[in-house]
Amino acid sequence: MQLLLLAVAVMILLPLYWVLKTSLTGENLFNYPPSLVPRDMHVFYFVDVFYWIPFARFALNSVIVSVIVVVTNILFNSMAAMALTYEFNFKPLVIGLYLSSMMIPFQTAIIPAFLLTRELGLLNSHVGLALPLMSTIVNIFVFKSSFDAIPRSIIDSARIDGVSEWRLLDTIYLRLSSPAIATNVILAFVWSWNNFIWPLIIVRDEAMQTLPLALSRFLSYFEDTSGQLYAFVVLVAIPVIAIFLLNQKRFISGILAGAMKG
């Protein structure tokens, strides 16, 4: 069993290793004989990425958009999830609407989303880039599962003590839901960081491009520069891996809670 797990782990990690190796050696996939061991390693491909394109500018755009998305996800999703813990008329209908909207792919709503963003004057802006991901249904239900698990007695006693709704959300719901927050942070960050189609639609100015757009352009311009291309891929992937590793334990417990109670 352990051998099987080891084999699966190698299968998963090998492509990542290959990307890292190519970014350091420039040996592309067609080199013969293929070598697993890196030869003549250097960091110059990473240096080229920084100097050939305005990488820092693109990275800053991605960071700004991702921070907006993460913060708004935590705020809006927790508010929506808190509302869903209450009993009110047509609650099953509201939940049904939420769930059914998950089944509509974003591509089908992209034209109305574009028109709306244009009417708001947010085309070509960081807020406009973040807009469609500011609240996500999956993350609302991650919060809802976590909030549902909080004993009613704690909420009721806080209410009896005169705690306001905002304070209830802040000091009880969110304080007791760190796995759900971690899950929101990771999912929102990854979705925002990897988002390609929406920035492609609304960004007009090169200075507003995010990393996935820049990567696509880099690929179309410089097909034969495998070392630089793979270095770019590594630089794009590092923040996502770092965010996951920083939140890994809580993320897994948050997802598991959602799986059991969602």
Partner: protein, 118 residues
């Protein structure tokens, strides 16, 4: 969780700051080196040509001459990758290619440029 984030952020800040300080301390834009003949003796008065390599092209070269000790220096070079060769009395050396870690890096060629003359 917050502690882990702060440590991660702190490490990142230290790395970026360290790299920035190192770059600022070594950003003179000078490329220096030595030209020798086949026997390893310095070649005085040799013409050294440096050609910057950019993303799409290799630029027209700039030249300088070696001093009595066979040494040369190019100043104010905001380059990241370049080719360099030397010639004297119509004999040309092999062309060497170097890549720098950052623009305007203070760089001493690790090996002398060898012109195959006796």
């Amino acid at each position: 969780m917050v502690k882990r984030w702060l440590i991660g952020l702190g490490v990142l800040v230290v790395l970026v700051l360290g790299a920035w300080i190192y770059i600022k301390a070594n950003q003179t834009g000078e490329v220096r080196g030595l030209v020798v003949d086949g026997a390893g003796r310095p070649v005085a008065g040799a013409t050294v040509r440096l050609r910057e390599k950019t993303l799409n092209l290799i630029k027209q070269g700039i030249t300088t001459e070696t001093d009595a000790e066979g040494r040369f220096i190019f100043t104010d070079q905001a380059i990241i990758e370049f080719f360099i060769d030397a010639r004297t009395d119509g004999v040309v050396s092999e062309e060497y290619r170097y890549h720098l870690y950052f623009k305007e890096q203070d760089f001493e060629l690790p090996d002398p440029i060898v012109i195959p003359v006796e």
